[in-house]
Symmetry: C2
Subunit: 276 residues, 2 copies
Amino acid sequence: MQFQSLINGSDLIGVSPRDRGIAFGDGVFRTMPVHDGVADCWDMQYHHLSRDAHAIGLVCPPAQLLKDEIAQLGSGIHRAVVKIILTRGDSVRGYAIPSPSSLTRIVTLSAFPQYPADNYQDGVDLHLCELRLGVQPRLAGIKHLNRLENVLARMEWHDSRYADGLLLDMDGYVIECTASNIFIRNGNVLTTPDLSRCGVAGVTRQRILDQAPALGYETEVVRFDLTALMSADEVVICNSLFGVWQVRRLASQNWPEGHLARQLRLMLGMQDETSI
Amino acid sequence: MQFQSLINGSDLIGVSPRDRGIAFGDGVFRTMPVHDGVADCWDMQYHHLSRDAHAIGLVCPPAQLLKDEIAQLGSGIHRAVVKIILTRGDSVRGYAIPSPSSLTRIVTLSAFPQYPADNYQDGVDLHLCELRLGVQPRLAGIKHLNRLENVLARMEWHDSRYADGLLLDMDGYVIECTASNIFIRNGNVLTTPDLSRCGVAGVTRQRILDQAPALGYETEVVRFDLTALMSADEVVICNSLFGVWQVRRLASQNWPEGHLARQLRLMLGMQDETSI
């Protein structure tokens, strides 16, 4: 499958070199699976995209426009990934926002990743990142384009054994992985980190929070540290592409085989996202 | 003057929509005045660009290549601004760096800003930003492309009376302005904030630190808070474009007419950068 993009609806142009997305990371994004031109969980993805855009003062394009562009790129392709980027358009120089300001809309289709079947069957190992996330409540939770912390954290390991890297914040609280959110289970309580000081609030995290109570879980969103994570009954990571994976190992800690990830994938209807 | 750019040497293409500069702000930049195709303080600008690139794992292109591109864009134009952006090139998706990774080189020429003559003659007012900078030692001092904090801070004021906005960090220390560095003077001591936890270390800041001792100043780079700034004998802000401006007012504090900014502009040979 060819890599394809629409930039403000056109597949003939590149992004302007004075786009504020390049200059400042001045924008937001979302990544999601797409099946035959239809994005999974579109309403929720659009809600999150729109909320994040609003949080930095951008007006999200109409849902139908984005849906149409996703359909244009993805029709006839069984399964792919779509990434939507919204930036605050062009400005010559300087942080001040031009009036009227514009918006750049980038919709990109790419091949669905080939995840190892073992990640679904046996679970995954996590690298414990040395980089600690900075605390910035004004940007916390938002899937914005300032992602150098994630890039630097991802540079810490080359061993393909690690499916992702766990990130703590400056104060030692567990936040997320570089490209996924995290849940721990103790008894029937599912806990995911509070993201009001840093981190990215993914759609799959929200879906688990919404749906897990129907399976008999209590859910909570609180701060917890590495010691709490290490002593949890089970640990899982999640994102919109791979779904949910069981964590089997982090540093010196090994968890026995668990069933939470499989149970949550079934709950989310994501059991078919393996590469099997 | 037309706005002109070279992207990897070409003026015919746009930036790829999968460039990591857009996706993650994965890159660095520098902005500088250019006179008839020759960048001011080029050796120092290149040194800082190269150091910043290295800090995030990028290899800076040879100085001569960038000099040639600046000359190509700027020859025959008396005075303009050049901005160099280096990004980690394309990747399909995900934070992992492709091997081999590429580099995107964007060199952009734009018109020199028309700064108010009053800013040079009488000094400037600063807005005191509500946004506090997050602390991230791994990115501190680097002129990287993750600048959403600056964008959000710059959105706080619309009154053209404010030449820039003062930024404190989460712990209340003075760091910089949104687009300039800051110095305070007490007696013969010039002090600028320590930028080892956040902030951007500009070339003009470094030139002042290097050259001010020859004028009889002691210089120091330390942490100080807003109270220390408010009680300083003089306050100035600086960047490579406007040079140095005297700060006359910040919140309730007014400073009498001072001569430090003019003295430093003369020292730096930047007295001709006014719009007069």
